[in-house]
Amino acid sequence: MIESIILWILAICLSPFYAAVILKVKAFFGGKKGPPLLIHYFTLIKLMQKGSVYSNSTTFIFKMGPIASLSAALMALLFLPIAGRSPVLSFNGDVIFVLYVLGLGRFFTIAAAMDTASPFEGMGAAREAFFPIICEATMFMILILFFQLTGELTFAAYFTGIQTSGLWRVAGAPMLFVVMAFFIILLTENSRVPVDDPATHLELTMIHEVMVLDHSGPDFGLIELGAFIKLLFYSTFVARLICPIHAAHPFVNFVIFCAALSGVYVAIGVTESVMARFRMDRVSHFVLTSFALAFFATVITLEFVK
């Protein structure tokens, strides 16, 4: 329990660092030096020290937005086995609970965007409401597959200890599809290229960034932190799946996990460097690909696993 809580806090603290890895990779591809790896900590500290500007159009919901999205991300992380150790909380069906809690965070992020009466933010909100629908369908498809393989509905049963390598042993080929599907979900849910571009300043092409245009100061800091944690949450899935090694010593284990996690973040950075973002009407097709992959994986497994 204590170990799980320490890992939870450690994951929260490390999440801004990993997000900076992406920037470093992108800078490398651009032939630049790039910002320091601790850039996000500096930004967060700077934001926390500032005051805020609120629009006259906004109500209390605007202030609830950052709280809800950060709380949802923290809550989700509580159920996730970090570095293959057992999570802080776990119960039968916690996967469903976590997906819906993240939905709650999304509800408030969208509502906070709609609160500003800004057409740009409305546009971002509409997209934020659309793409995750397909992601959720994919997630549940993967859950069906995992349930077939393990008979459990908890993150702990999928990502703890040797469980993950067990998944590979039972259904290796379909798991490749699952990794790809997870990676697409990761890119979509966290507004990365090719779904969204976190670096652009063109409001019309953005999803997440445009929704938080009006937030400032500590509020914005909380949103950023929530986004880092959410990114870490999804990256952990992929990291555990591509590197299911489980060492006996907790410290060794943690180092292996961190290395795998860096690999995922580098992959995100490489994707962002070599790809442009899709036209908005093509994004839904891209996200649907993940559903197709998960669907095939499940159908294939149906024949293998009895």
Partner: protein, 652 residues
């Protein structure tokens, strides 16, 4: 049983007294509201008491010497009585300030009469123990709700909606009657118990007929066409009762038939899951495309009926494949959703009612910024929206959670169950996402941002009797969401009455699940509280500035530039294009000095679009051919009567 009939007597008194007092408007309303709500409270207490009593109550009266009207309150009846009485109680309170036109005094009095009849008939339908009793009160329920729908009969749309509702409820009643007729024909008894001895193929026919009939009341796709017309036309407290509880009587009918037939064919589960899936997804997609706030809520009811049907289907699959845990989870989840939906949907309809009353418009795109002027309405509507999107820690999540768990139990079974469970789970996930989009749209466009029209500027909320019911309902959403144990026990009592053949259903494995929800919800609230504290700490002694919204460099923004509900929903409705064809009307801009132009769009319901060509025209064509029977001359009619008597005497 006496207390039950006493409560109905008080409710009926609350309907008839206003007719005599209609010259004194306020007195009439006071008497009507007090009496109806008192009756509902008595009934509510009684049904809660009945629900937790092990034995069932039965009573029987002779009627017309040939039939008997018999009533029985078992767990299932008592479970459905709870929302009927509870929502009617709050709707009666709400009506006090909602019906506030003294000029329409007599009409208001009549509406109380029909309202009391509606409540009484709903409670009597769910306690009916034989076919005759059921059908009698079913008809009274349909007719009284028809008169309530046409309250604003001077409006042509209302009359049209009423007509549509009338036709659909009677076509549905015809199907139910034919199902009952088959039951009677094969079993020779009017009681529901006799149906258990029917041959298997008859059971299937009876179930399918009854499903179509009850489905038309419950708003199951494609029998839902009346629902999005009738609900917006009715006064809002009536829409709350109709959408909150009356359409659930259709669900009750399906369940009652399932119990009576006592036949666990896999086909039943298949029908229900597929029907639920279609209703659920299409319902929410159409809800998203609506521009009228009450129509949108009506479509969302269709969606929730879909969720309930999916749950029932999972329960039935669990039964037919011999998986008790899956069966109980599916049935209990859908019963929970029945209760939860009655809470948040009536809340949302009441909220929409205030908004329409204060702004004078139904159009979502004409509203905006109401949160600032109508704080209580806005807050309660927000809570209702969160709950209906199925988000924890609110009550909508609880029912869906159990349905999900039941669905996952089906994944491990045979191929067919696997496919159905997969469809059920994926459609629930998609419905959840779409519902979130739908309700962020309504909350965002109606209550947030800036007012889009004059009418939205002047809104206020002062009437306590309209606000109190909403506050009560909104308070229940998080309470049930965090502590689902009590309502879950109620649902289990309801499931026990389904005669699944498991004897007493043990509580302990399910209690662990509700405990888990409570615990997780508590942890989540703790985190939210910590974050609020952190935020408070971060904002100590900071400068807070208020200014206009950042327009990305654009200096003269107007409220017209805000994103509208239609544009918000457009990309999602486009994704579902084959079923959401958009009717657009937009005269092209022409010439050097173009005339004023406009743009209007309207998403057409696929069932409504094909109803005319596929169903109405063939039926009309057929009956046109029979028109010669009716010439308007009295002599042939007398001849018909004679012929009928002769045939009856000699051949039957």
């Amino acid at each position: 049983m006496e207390a039950f009939f006493f409560s109905i007597g008080v409710i009926i008194a609350g309907g008839t007294l206003p007719l005599m007092l209609h010259r004194h408007f306020t007195l009439m309303k006071t008497v009507g509201v007090l009496s109806i709500s008192a009756g509902c409270l008595i009934g509510l207490t009684n049904s809660l008491f009945q629900l937790f009593r092990p034995e069932t109550d039965a009573v029987s009266f002779k009627y017309l010497h040939a039939f008997s009207l018999s009533f029985v309150i078992d767990g299932l009846s008592a479970f459905f009585l709870v929302p009927v009485f509870f929502v009617s109680f709050l709707a009666a309170l709400y009506s006090f300030h909602y019906l506030n036109t003294p000029e329409k005094s007599f009409r208001t009095a009549a509406s109380y009469l029909f309202f009391s009849l509606l409540i009484a008939s709903m409670t009597l339908v769910v306690t009916a123990a034989n076919i005759i009793t059921f059908m009698l009160f079913w008809e009274i329920m349909s007719l009284s709700s028809f008169f309530l729908v046409v309250y604003d009969y001077h409006k042509i749309e209302t009359r049209k909606a009423g007509y549509l509702y009338f036709v659909f409820s009677h076509a549905g009643a015809m199907l139910i009657l034919s199902a009952f007729g088959l039951m009677y024909g094969f079993s020779g008894s009017f009681g529901f118990d006799g149906a258990a001895i029917l041959p298997e193929w008859v059971k299937i026919v009876v179930f399918v007929l009854a499903f179509a009939g009850f489905g038309s009341k419950a708003g199951v796709f494609p029998f839902h066409v009346w629902l999005p017309h009738a609900h917006p036309a009715a006064p809002s407290h009536i829409s709350a009762v109709m959408s909150g509880v009356m359409i659930k009587i259709g669900i009750y009918g399906i369940l009652r038939m399932y119990v009576a037939l006592n036949y666990h064919a896999p086909l039943f589960g298949e029908i229900l899951v597929i029907a639920g899936m279609i209703s659920g997804i299409l319902g929410v997609v159409y809800a998203l495309a609506q521009q009228d706030i009450k129509r949108m809520l009506a479509y969302s009811s269709i969606e929730n009926m879909g969720i309930i049907l999916i749950g029932l289907g999972i329960g039935m699959i669990g039964m037919s494949s011999g998986n008790p845990l899956m069966a109980v989870l599916g049935f209990a989840g859908s019963l929970l959703h029945v209760l939860n939906h009655s809470i948040f949907k009536s809340l949302l309809f009441m909220g929409a009612g205030i908004v329409i009353k204060k702004t004078g418009t139904h159009s979502i795109d004409a509203l905006g910024g109401l949160m600032k002027k109508m704080r209580i309405t806005g807050m309660t509507f927000l809570i209702g929206s969160l709950a209906i999107s199925g988000l924890p820690p609110l009550n909508g999540f609880v029912g869906e959670f159990f349905i999900y768990l039941g669905g996952f139990k089906g994944v491990g079974l045979d191929k067919l169950s696997f496919v159905l469970s997969l469809m059920a789970i994926i459609s629930l996930a998609v419905i959840g996402g779409l519902a979130l989009a739908c309700f962020t749209k309504v909350v965002g466009v109606v209550f947030q941002g800036e007012p889009r029209s004059e009418s939205a500027v002047k809104a206020d909320e002062k009437e306590p009797m309209m606000l109190i019911p909403m506050v009560v309902l909104a308070a229940l959403c998080p309470i049930i969401g965090v502590f689902p144990k009590a309502v879950f026990l109620m649902a289990i009592r309801g499931v026990s009455a389904l005669n699944l053949g498991y004897g007493r259903i043990p509580f302990s494995p399910f209690l662990e699940m509700t405990e888990n929800i409570s615990q997780a919800a508590a942890v989540f609230l703790l985190i939210v509280f910590c974050m609020l504290a952190l935020r408070f700490f971060l904002y100590r002694q900071k400068t807070i500035t208020r200014t206009g919204t950042w327009g990305c460099g654009f200096t003269r923004p107007t409220v017209k530039m805000q994103y509208t509900g239609s544009s918000y929903a457009r990309s999602i409705t486009d994704f579902f294009k084959p079923v959401t064809a958009l009717n657009e009307d937009h005269p092209a801009v022409q010439g050097v000095f173009p005339a004023k132009t406009y743009y209007s769009s309207h998403a057409r319901d696929i069932a409504e679009r094909y109803m005319e060509s596929v169903f109405v025209h063939p039926v009309l064509f057929f009956f046109d051919k029979l028109r010669w029977i009716q010439q308007g001359d009295i002599h042939p009619y007398i001849g018909y009567i004679l012929l009928a008597i002769v045939i009856l005497l000699f051949f039957v």
